[in-house]
Symmetry: C4
Subunit: 454 residues, 4 copies
């Protein structure tokens, strides 16, 4: 939203983002075509030649564009839009590599030879793979973007890496066989003596088949290295595969552990509560309350307002509490007429909780330690005497309970239990008394409100 200098593009600009996505598609194309051209296409067709040049052109444009894109300074966290600073930063970082990966070597090779089949230039072409850094930084960004599922982002990345490794190794292995003097003593020639005469499709599928057979360590053995050159390549590929497989498994383990941790914690809690109830032979009613409470916690992990809030600084906590609870607290009868300042201080000390149906919030005869305001749902007042339980009344959203105990310092007169899913604000007695002490006028108003009600 901040304004940048003229002709300078923000890296967060929508059009620039689209351009980046477009380049990523070209990168994927480059990553696939580069090894493929090296291995299977002795001579490039005209169409492919032009497509390659066009792709190079787009990356050349991007090099120019980068000189006009602002960047985020790592120290001040501000966008830098000074053209000179941008240029210096780019020139001293990736500029040279970007240029190298864009130079049309095939074009240059034509100046020396006719068909662009020169090996050296072909290998220089592999510099294009430098462009893959864009994909890598895209994924680093996606992993931090909660709009995308972490599990699938990570899996996609791993699948792409694996496919790229398979493709490269397959192409390179074919490349070695293709250049080997004795065609019959190559991995493909041993089973397909005239392999060069086969269709491109068959050769490519066979190369991929060999590559994936080796990567997954299946190793049927129908295709295998036949000469030292291939053996050497195989040795390096298998060593790489060992690392890649371990990396894949490590990542999957990480995702599985992360993905199941909630369920496991839930099970552990339920188990502990059940065992506790069984060992102490608690009555069924208390056991049900325990289990349904843990179940609600699990289902509504998001409801944990308090925990999320506690991680934030005090300023934001106040903003949120005011926005959410101020309207509720102001309309409670007890705070009728008190000053706004007083209510602000009360709200800042409030804590919100959810209770499942049929749970006891307060127990008869309990010491009064908290004050409660109902935000949603409903509760019942129950009186236990001589073993008989009588419902004495009900309270709904906007009502308050426990205030008599807190203000008069007497044990709770009723057991209060929820009848449905209920959100309740709690205020500790000590905090409340402190606030009241700080403002005697409001304290008098509150006592009047209480007396009027009684």
């Amino acid at each position: 939203s901040t304004k940048l200098r003229k002709h300078i593009i923000s890296p967060y600009d929508r059009r620039y983002r689209a351009w980046e996505i477009f380049l990523i598609l070209l990168v994927i194309y480059s990553a696939w075509i580069c090894p493929f051209e090296l291995a299977f296409l002795r001579y490039l067709s005209k169409t492919l030649f032009h497509v390659d040049n066009m792709v190079n052109g787009f990356f050349a444009i991007d090099i120019v564009v980068t000189f006009f894109v602002a960047f985020l300074d790592r120290k001040s966290y501000l966008l830098v839009d000074d053209r000179k600073t941008i240029a210096v930063r780019y020139l001293t970082s990736w500029f040279i590599l970007d240029v190298c990966s864009t130079v049309p070597f095939q074009y240059i090779s034509l100046l020396f030879q006719k068909h662009g089949g020169d090996l050296g230039f072909k290998l220089l072409n592999m510099l294009r793979l430098w462009r893959l850094r864009r994909v890598s930084s895209l994924f680093a960004r996606l992993e931090k973007d909660i709009r995308f599922n972490y599990f699938w982002t990570r899996c996609t990345k791993l699948v792409l890496v694996t496919l790229f490794a398979v493709h490269c190794a397959g192409c390179f292995n074919y490349f070695i066989a293709d250049r080997y003097p004795d065609a019959r003593r190559t991995w493909i020639g041993a089973v397909m003596p005239n392999f060069r005469a086969q269709s491109l499709w068959i050769r490519y599928v066979t190369a991929m088949y060999w590559s994936i057979t080796t990567l997954t360590t299946t190793g049927y053995g129908d295709l295998h290295a036949e000469n030292p050159r291939e053996m050497l390549f195989d040795i390096f590929y298998m060593l790489f595969n060992l690392g890649l497989t371990a990396y894949l498994i490590g990542n999957m383990t990480n995702l599985v552990v992360h993905g199941t941790s909630r369920t496991r914690k839930f099970r552990d809690k339920i188990q502990a509560a059940s065992e506790f109830a069984a060992r102490n032979q608690l009555p069924q009613q208390i056991k049900d309350q325990m289990l349904s409470h843990i179940f609600l916690q699990f289902k509504t992990e998001g409801f944990k307002q308090q925990e999320t809030l506690n991680g934030l600084p005090k300023g934001i906590q106040s903003s949120v509490a005011n926005y959410l609870f101020f309207p509720v607290v102001r309309n409670v009868y007890l705070f009728n007429g008190v000053s706004q300042n007083f209510i602000y201080q009360v709200v800042a000390e409030m804590q919100a909780d959810y209770f499942p149906p049929k749970e006891d919030v307060v127990h008869q005869r309990e010491a009064p330690t908290e004050l409660y305001i109902l935000v949603s749902g409903a509760v019942e007042y129950k009186l236990h005497s001589n073993g008989i339980e009588q419902v004495q009344g009900r309270a709904y959203a906007g009502d308050m309970f426990g205030e008599v105990g807190v203000l008069c310092d007497t044990p709770q007169p009723f057991t209060i239990s929820t009848t449905e899913l209920t959100q309740i604000l709690r205020l500790r007695r000590t905090a409340f008394i402190n606030i009241v002490r700080g403002s005697i006028k409001d304290g008098t108003l509150i006592m009047n409100n209480l007396l009027q009600k009684l």
Copy 2:
């Protein structure tokens, strides 16, 4: 237990649960037979045809039944039994897929052809696999059900997934070979030239053998892809296997880590305590007390009443404490005659602990910070003077100790140590003094009780 409208079935109804389990069995049958029919049975036998139709019939019935099953609303956590809401919900979610997976395509294909061997209809038949979502949701439920062991539930799920993958891949690979024009250039035809003449059993076992050899990456190589079509299928199957294997290992690691964490923590604690004792050259007696305490903690993880309780809201905590400790505390001599309200408040502040035999609970000359009530087990009073230790008395379940120190604010006169496994309630001095201050009458009674005893 809540009443639903007429003709509406609760999803928790026993008979409905049984019907679901019955359907799951049919799903497993479907999952096995669908790929099998596709690959091995060119023409269905009459029996199988009728069995398939019957199975479809049951799923058709379930579609109708679903319109009469209440569901749990995700927001209010209440069962919705309104027929219209149920219908709308089902029609907008899985209805169409459920219907598609139930249409008897084999029947329809008979209208067009004679033997129902048409490939298109056979592939449409694979839509039945959609039914597997039922198995998936069953396992999601089982994992949260503590009546079933997590390790084995999870393992069963993984084994079923693996078996299904093996079965499908084996069938599909045979399917490809079966349809390939040149039977000798197929994976099975290369070693079994007249494979179509072999018995169904041999062909099925061979297909499964190939499939599992590939999935586990054993890859003997006796059976392997012979033509591009099979290679292509193999490539995808091996890629899938890579993911599946990583997923299996990830899950197993997760289970192993979770399963051994208790033992590891125990070892770490014992190790730290032993090292501590060795470094400080503690006498054997203190070291034994330390180790036996840690050992008891490990053995009786379930005994950790306090931790389980602390995770629950205050209301439930009071319920449990009252149920468990009220009868014990009321009968202690010190609280003879005091009001119920007083005892309720005392109970709410109590903490329960277990002590192994021969552990010192209180030390002579220690500052009095807590009051103790014996729930079970027994303790000895010991007097140390001039290096001699004399047993002065014993206390049993229902007795109290430490009250003199707390009420008269003098150091503990005795060392008190357990003689067997003992459960003790503790009450902090400050909490107790606060309760006493709030009710002077009860305080006087307590002092009288104490004086009478002394």
Copy 3:
């Protein structure tokens, strides 16, 4: 150490432990010989026959002995030595299986046939593998015994499980081949047509070679299933291997994660401290103090007396504190003449810390919050004024510092820093003041001691 009834053996008795170890060795022999006899020995040699019977005899003796071994009750944690209870417990648990695994089936088979080569009896012989439960329970015990390294205990267990699986599968696979009618169409017969004529050693090694090749999923393919019977066995073996491999990897991951956690935590701390120092451009001296402190913490994890103590109940904490600190604190000049009770209370509030050389313990002008007693090592008093640092004195083991600040409530007059590795007891000012207030006589003595010194 507790006395048991006559003729009842304690499970912790040394001789009984030795007998158990002896049986474990026999179990390992049984586990190896059972599958081996089944597969490779059509007719048992006389020697082997007698050895087997002797082994069975020992296990028969153990069945009898078990009726005389006390056991630990899971509820009361006491040894039960009542002969009837022991008998009931054994008869209702493992008695029948123990007997079945001890019956000499080979002997019985001789009554029916001549050479004991009957298949049914041979399979019954496999019941002996039930004895393996002893190995399993041995490892469960070893894992909790800190005298044995967790990593190697666990690894040994996994290696034994793997070897047993390899041995069993190898034997069983040979067993299948041996009984197959067409010897040339078996996994071993295909490469070794007259395999039955080969030496036992060659056949056993070949079977093991096949087994391990399959288990590790290497699958060279030189030996592979040739008929449906072998394929079927292979399918089950490979499925089992998938699980076993995942289990091995899961365990190894668990051990690696556990084993490297300390180093990783240390690195994280050092890294955070270094980055902190670099960012804030702290002087080298402060940075060195930070790093050497973290380094000492890492090296002397065992020194963390406080953390280990805090996990123990109060009674044990007092025992340890008294044993360790009482002699030190009593001899400090400030507590000259005060009552033992007073010192006991002071000791209970003490905390012990280690400081590396050249670390500042107290800063000049700091508010006095703690009192320090040197247990070992030495410190220097330094005075900073006008940017010059002057050493004013030294203190050694048994000396005290910070007491003037605490008792007179003035800022610390000196910077006090260690000159070597130093152990220091700390006592918080508030705790000390509270203790002094509780005993005015001792307070006066302390003030006198302080005045005399000044």
Copy 4:
């Protein structure tokens, strides 16, 4: 930096470190050449013979040098430079093994035979591998050195272990084949009948190829064991591989889990905050404040000054706080003229926080609980009244806010929010009041300063 006795070398000496690095290079050479000589070189060339002797010579020198190198005592953490202690320690630990691994067995073997090709002496030569302990201890040190990336240190170690295992196994397998009487029945002879006539390069590559094919469990099967001797070696190698692979995967999992934990925690926090905002329909402005705060926390993990400081002892904390905050606090108008002691006490209680731009630090009408000093950045004072927000002023580095509320105990008069990345020192009201109470003169000065400003 501490001085050692004459002729004693410090283990931290730069030249000694260089000598150690040089030896490590020789160790790597030894580790490679030892198995290679054993397997491939029947007769050593003269050059190689001399090189080996030279290498041995360097290690012999090191044995002598070790008698002059001080060592760090594990108990006192001091360097021991007593020559006798050093000698005793070395002689009782690794001396004998070091000597054994340095004896020139090849030389000795020449006394008995002509070409040094005797098998026994060759195997004795393998004792040189003992030298690898140096590499192992180097890596143990590197892992704790934060100048080296943990991931890459660990990976390098694993790669080296893997390469060494591959090299050894390949050499040893060739050694077995080379010595086998029937060359055609060896793993290499079966496919390369005249393998002994092949060039060293081809034989070595083939051996490595077989070795890595087996280690990665690819197992093409083109090269495989042909006789019981090779099978036996293969069995042990594959068992070892199973362990090694599990160890590699375990390590990789460990590294991946550690490496992604920060991102995962960040995602969890962002997710919780977003869900919280969505559920409570918080206004966009508050949501933005929440997310940008979490984002800043993630980006500036290093900024967490407080957490790093809290892990350190009080003495170091004071040093750091004084160094960082004393100059800032002294120049604040409120503390104009107060004593240095006062400021020292204020600084010790200060906490530093970073706030992203546009975050509310203090809310209008909030209870005054803290005092704020700006270290860097800037804030705006805003007044909300009747729904209108007015900017009343700004404060910059060195300014203070919230002091009126704290000293006069009135609610905050303004909302104060940052305009850029801002570092703020916070001081809790209670701590400040306590300090003021302790020094009345300074308190009067502070009130005067406040009055002058108002």
